[in-house]
Amino acid sequence: MFDNLGEKFERIFKKLKGESTISEKNIRDAMHEVKLALLEADVNFKVVKDFIQKVTEKAVGQEVLTSISPGQQIIKFVYDALVDVMGGKPKEFELHQSKINKVMLLGLQGSGKTTFAGKLAKYCLKKGWKPLLVACDVYRPAAINQLKVVGEQAGVPVFEKGQIKPLDIAREAIDFALHEGCNIMIVDTAGRLHINEVLMDELIGLKAFLKPEYAFLVADAMTGQDAVKSASAFDSQVGIDAVCLTKLDGDARGGAALSIRAVTGKPIVFSSIGEKLTDLEMFYPDRMASRILGMGDVVTLVEKAQETFDAKQAQEMQKKLMRQSFTFQDFLDQMKQVKKMGPLKDIMSMIPGVGRQLKDVDFDEAELGRVEAVILSMTPEEREHPEILTGSRRQRIAKGSGATLQDVNALIRQFEEAKKMMQRMMGATGLMGKLNPFSKKRKEEAKADHKFEKQQKKQQLKKKKKKRK
């Protein structure tokens, strides 16, 4: 979900990576990109404008953290604002113990009301409530049947009276609920356009009669710019208490989530994420925001970095990188700091872009230890000046660290490569991956090297033998 928006942010993130401080200029560029990304994500135009303004105000004049790049910092601001727009904390679905709770579902056609009705019934059932499904969609062919099937699947009774007036159905349903001892009524209504006055009036009447604890707007996550219009029309005319976002298991960028919340101010309580009746989740604004930011959890990464990285030390490191005097000793220090942040795979998966690539890569923590061992087997002088590492020194290091000569060679080669690369990009991202000589690919390369060397030795031996003959 939200994959595409994440990719967009990654691109912005990359553009910002080379910058050392937050300036008005790079904020403006970044915000322009954020704006386009959000627009392409179907976030309503006006919502986008407000959003951008908020983030920009917040970011400019902020102290620049040394441990993370300005890009990451801006991402954090964007993230915070996203969480904010989507309601901050997750909103609980609260029911009352001592009465029949009434939940009414409304929305456009095809937004997934009947499916959500089934899911919500199942959800309540699991929480120990006694739900009753009420079929008030008397227009769409077979809608009542659909609810009956869904109810059966969920193991919840369904009250239906065929195609009579919804108000009459609701009236009788209350008696039925009392009789059956049900304590939550979930009323499914027909999908309708918010500009259809007759049908909207029907809904208003139904709501006035039911006085529901929750009037749920069921909204399709794929909805475009118009999400704002229909949501605010339903809210102003009928009045909604909460929102359920459906079809979030698709690849919709989900701008509707931001728009609806921003415009109606009503909390998104549920997200519907699949075909099964159990595919219903609470809506977590923070998780959603992280997902928007690229499937990776940059925020946690930033927070972890803030916790563990000594800001001054990081500054030192940055200077060294700039002066091109990054040494094995620095690398060792950095590695220790990273280790403090937790398992490597977790950290890597928090970096946007890396997360997805890393899905099927196995990270062996022990191998990081072996890198450490190799560096620890170097003398301080060797660590500061890798260029003095001659063949015999390398052999000694290999012996001392229990690694093979190929491993040592590979590490040194990659260290030099990575150093060059880092000077180019100067970010924390990608550093560890590039420097790890024990990753599978590197190992294979090393194996190939090894084979080649063996073959050469064999050939030399053969030649010698021939000479003797």
Binding site: L36, Q109, G118, Y139, N145, D220, T223, G224, K247, A252
Partner: protein, 333 residues
């Protein structure tokens, strides 16, 4: 765009009275153009009206004017890429032609829009093959079943025999929903139990259609999100099995897109046409709230023609798509 303010179209037969009418309420059939215009005149909010307002207000072509047009297009779901394309084109042309006044500017805008949406259009017509097989696909809730009901009515009126195939064996009561449509229209109906393999439903139905000399077969598939790899594979299987019975079928594979969808429609279009050979688009829910700018983006980015547009809940509101009439209607006073 094009806020054709009208009652809902898809899924519901939303008359306040529970008796669900099949026949259109309007006895006098209006032409496509006048009907489109009709709906447009009810709204002050369509993009074109707003663009026109902006153009008249500013009177002169300027960057600010273009910025405003850009905003309006984006708010109509035209999408950033296509919007930029339109704006660039207008900027270039207005300079090249030295346009400064509002009237020629409106003409230019019309021309640029037409340029984008006018290509390889054709009508949905029943070819020579018998049975002529039309498969309908799309994500959940776009109005596939309703579209099939309307298409069936349309073909039956042409004195063709029609069979509906309930290959949506997944969604609760989807088979019932289609069956109601078959009863209303008098089309033949082929079904199996819920949960049956949709490919096998099609296999049996097509064999039966062949032996009964049915002219048109309409296959209703289950709504599926294009990101579900296994469901897309299931769809491919359905298509493979259809070919086993009739090698050149389906003769049409229509994707139903909901006009209220935002930019995700592009993704739907892309992934569905990668999975199966889509031959045409049906865009539903263009009436009412939908801004439908996504129609322009779809036309811009894909070569697949738009065969039908849904502009209301009446059976006759599933219309042929005619680009120039469409643009004309948008600009009509």
């Amino acid at each position: 765009m094009f806020f054709w303010k009208k009652k809902p179209e898809e899924e519901t037969q939303p008359q306040p009275a529970p008796s669900v009418p099949l026949e259109p309420e309007n006895p006098e059939k209006k032409g496509f153009f006048s009907r489109l215009k009709d709906r447009l005149s009810k709204t002050k909010d369509s993009i074109i009206t707003r663009v026109k307002e902006v153009i008249r207000l500013r009177g002169k072509v300027s960057e600010e004017l273009l910025d405003e047009i850009e905003e309006i297009l984006i708010q109509a779901d035209v999408g950033v890429d296509t919007t930029m394309k339109i704006i660039d084109r207008i900027r270039k042309e207005s300079r090249a032609r030295g346009i400064e006044d509002s009237e020629p500017m409106i003409d230019l805008f019309k021309e640029v829009l037409l340029e984008i949406i006018q290509k390889n259009e054709r009508l949905l017509e029943i070819g020579a093959a018998r049975p002529y097989v039309i498969a309908v696909v799309g994500v959940n809730g776009t109005g596939k079943t309703t579209t099939i009901g309307k298409l069936a009515k349309h073909f039956l009126e042409q004195k063709l025999s029609v069979m509906m195939v309930a290959a949506d064996t997944f969604r609760a009561a989807a088979v019932d929903q289609l069956e109601i449509w078959s009863e209303r229209t008098g089309a033949q109906f082929a079904k199996q139990a819920m949960g049956a393999d949709p490919a096998s439903v099609c296999f049996d139905a097509l064999n039966s259609a062949k032996s009964k000399n049915v002219d048109v077969v309409l296959i209703d598939t289950a709504g599926r999100l294009h990101t579900k790899v296994n469901l897309m594979a299931e769809l491919q299987k359905v298509f493979r099995v259809i070919k086993k019975v009739i090698p050149d079928a389906p003769h049409e594979a229509l994707i139903v897109l909901d006009a209220t969808t935002g930019q995700n429609a592009i993704s739907q279009m892309k992934i569905f046409s990668e999975a199966v050979p889509i031959t045409g688009v049906v865009m539903t829910k263009l009436d009412g709230t939908a801004k439908g700018g996504i129609l322009i983006a779809i036309r811009d980015l894909f070569d697949v023609p738009i065969l039908k547009i849904g502009i209301g809940e009446q059976i006759d509101d599933l219309r042929d798509f005619n680009p120039s009439e469409f643009v004309d209607a948008l600009f009509a006073e």
